[in-house]
Amino acid sequence: MARTFVLGLGNVLMGDDAFGPVVVHAFDDRYSVGPEVEIVDLGTPGLDMTPWMADAERVIVVDTVRAGRRPGTPCRYTKDDVMRQPPGPRVGPHDPGMRETLGTLELLGRAPREVVIVGIEPAHTELGRPLSPPVAAGVHGAVAAVVAALQAGGLEVWRRSVPLEPDRRWQPLVAR
């Protein structure tokens, strides 16, 4: 069973919010990993992130991060960075809830030992628009960051001799 998860977060229909899923698919196309690693396009799971993080050794989250920097600026955060922020009240189940998820799991004693967030500053998250040029340019670097994060954890990552070309019909939308 996998103990390390690479989770791509975001909505593929919403401009730069597609970054997370795009990066994990790009990783999947170019690299293979052992059974101890699972790569998941998790979309926008809201409250449903908890089961993916429970009991994990290591979680690498790829996501857009608003920090007021120039669009396309990469960033990296750890569990401590996330936990330092206070959570807000929830109105719906969509609220990202990374902090609540990690907090609940800490209370259970089942939180992942390590969390790495591979992020990028988005330019826009508008419906039906492709990735903005600066964010699209950041996909490659984020894939490399995922590889590095896995390797830093002592996990093996193999480059595929022939990249996969899976059927991914929503992709024209973000690549357009």
């Binding site: 409250l47 996501d63 807000g88 009240p89 209370l107």
Partner: protein, 566 residues
């Protein structure tokens, strides 16, 4: 002098639910519900292949993925008048049931429990007393002194480390919190246990759907789960039994924990069986079809008006004309160009944002109406429509729930109390118990049908020249969902999704009739305008889900106060 309160978590996600209420003398006098994000996602589908629409629609929303996939394939099948094989129905039904069970558990424990449960008060609980209390209500093995003591110790460690901030969305110490420390401890323990069951039912969706959260196994015309009992790579006996084990285990949690918790909380907050009713016109569609053509179902559908359970109009097939003819949407108070009320086939989506003006346009959500009337949708609608039709399974669980809650409260409860904030929680739990039982039934139907040698899963769709109209409905966790498609020469010309939360969260219409959220808040007490817990209780009881949705972290936490009292 009235106070105006805005609850608006707008900062983290662009576009969200904003609730405004006017409070006078500690009671809500008027309310507005506003969707803060344009969701014209349907436009993305224009010009595409109808067979692929579901791949896009399941990306509408990260929480309701499968739901939009199911409604989409049903709509296209309806347009083509295409029946699907029995196995396909059963497999879809298992996914539908598992997803809904999952969603209901998550809603109660993760989203709503902290509206009623005071985490900090649990620190004062006596674990032995909590265990004694629990043993009188349920046989759940997790209800023991050791477990409760462990939860209490963990919680204490958390508070001492100053980590309780993760529950800052809970309003502990609020005057409207009223459970005893022991009940609070019990609930916190179940809140933590719920996680495992959330994961188990999710695994069912993953096994049958190929992946989760975005299932891969659907097709217009059936499913793509090859069935071969002797083949490791297909749906075989080992996988089927794995599904059964997971479903059985979840059912135990639902019946012994979720059921009991809702009854107990319902009994201890009995006054919330009197607030939050609002719109008492109800709409539900039937689901979990048991035949190939979609004419018999295990979950009931229909309409009833004015809370009158003696008159109900059933909705009874996938092409029911009563449903098809009566659905319209109004944009009188929504940020779209014009002021019409139209049938989904005739709609257009032309956004026109103006500022927020409560008496004019104030929401991105259109206002769906049924025969011109405001309808409340959701588990409560399904349960009431079922009771009104004498639906056996609905009666069984509703009676059991009302009896149990009544016993705890020391009173007699009738279905009339369900028109309320806690009634919606009760109905969701009742529906969840029904689904847990029905998932077992549909598992058996599938296993037996395969056992008879039927391995059909797919009927090829054929798209004729010309124009076809189709609608597909699905009774999703939050209520009636319908997708409406117009196909022209094999491609999509128009697509509309009328989603449950637009029925409930929609704004006023051309006749100024408020939507269900808006109506339900009127008459709610508000003890402290700065901490409008009571408003959240009623809004949460609908299980709001409107953002449809993006995920962006804000690591620097530049959030501003979400609650403004003016």
């Amino acid at each position: 002098m009235s106070t105006h309160i805005t609850v608006d978590p707008i900062t983290r996600i662009e576009g969200h639910l904003r609730i405004d209420v006017e409070v006078d003398g500690g009671v809500v006098k008027k309310a507005w519900s506003s969707g803060q994000m344009f969701r014209g996602i349907e436009k993305i589908l224009e010009g595409r292949d109808p067979r692929e629409a579901w791949l896009f629609t399941q990306r509408f929303c990260g929480v309701c993925t499968t739901v939009h996939a199911i409604a989409s394939v049903r709509a296209v099948e309806n347009a083509l008048q295409l029946a699907i094989p029995k196995n396909a129905h059963y497999i879809r039904n298992l996914i539908v049931a598992a997803h809904a069970m999952h969603d209901h558990i998550v809603h109660f424990y993760q989203l709503s429990a902290l509206d009623w449960v005071d985490v900090v008060s649990a620190l004062k609980a006596d674990p032995a007393k909590a265990a004694a209390l629990a043993s009188g209500l349920s046989e759940w093995p997790g209800n023991n002194v050791k477990q409760f003591q462990a939860v209490k110790d963990r919680l204490a460690g958390f508070v001492n480390n100053g980590q309780l901030g993760i529950f800052a969305n809970g309003y502990w110490g609020h005057p409207a919190m009223r459970l005893s420390p022991e009940v609070n401890l019990l609930a916190v323990s179940h809140y933590l246990e719920a996680l495992d069951y959330q994961r188990k039912v999710n695994q069912v969706v993953a096994i049958l759907g190929g992946k989760t959260p975005h299932i891969q196994n659907l097709a217009v015309g059936g499913v793509a789960n090859a069935i071969n009992l002797d083949n490791q790579a297909t749906l075989n006996m080992a996988r089927l039994y794995q599904v059964k084990e997971l479903l059985d285990s979840a059912r135990q949690f639902i019946e012994q924990v979720y059921f009991v918790d809702v009854c107990a909380i319902g009994a201890m907050y009995a006054e919330w069986l009197t607030y939050g009713g609002g719109v008492t016109n109800y709409l539900a569609v039937p689901d979990l079809p048991t035949d190939a053509t979609g004419r018999s179902f295990d979950l009931p559908g229909g309409t009833l008006f004015g809370g009158d359970l003696s008159t109900v109009t059933p909705i009874s097939s996938f092409d029911d004309p009563y449903f098809q003819k009566n659905v319209t949407e109004s944009i009188a108070h929504a940020w779209y160009d014009g002021d019409w009320q139209r049938h989904p086939y005739e709609e257009e989506t032309v956004p026109k944002y103006t500022k927020y003006e409560g008496d004019r346009k104030y929401s991105w959500i259109k206002a769906p109406r049924f025969d011109g009337r405001v309808m409340q949708v959701g588990p409560l609608a399904q349960v009431l429509v079922g009771l009104a039709q004498g639906h056996e399974l609905t009666k069984k669980w509703a009676v059991k729930a009302l009896d149990t809650a009544g016993r705890v409260a020391g009173t007699t409860l009738t279905p009339a109390v369900l028109h309320s904030t806690l009634g919606r929680h009760a109905a969701r739990m009742i529906r969840c118990c029904m689904l847990a039982e029905l998932a077992g039934k549909h598992w058996s139907l599938l296993a037996e049908n395969i056992g008879r040698g039927d391995t059909d899963i797919f009927n090829e769709p054929v798209f004729p020249k010309g124009e076809q109209h189709g609608f597909g409905f699905h009774e999703a966790p939050r209520g009636t969902l319908s997708h409406w498609v117009v196909i022209q020469d094999g491609t999509i010309r128009n697509y509309q999704a009328v989603v449950p939360s637009t029925w409930n969260a929609g704004p006023r219409d051309g006749r100024d009739q408020p939507g269900p959220y808006e109506a339900s808040l009127v008459g709610n007490p508000v003890a402290d305008p700065e901490l409008p817990l009571e408003v959240l209780r009623t809004v949460h009881s609908f299980d709001p889900c409107i953002a449809c949705a993006i995920h962006t972290l804000d690591v620097h936490g530049t959030e501003v106060a979400r609650v403004r009292a003016l």
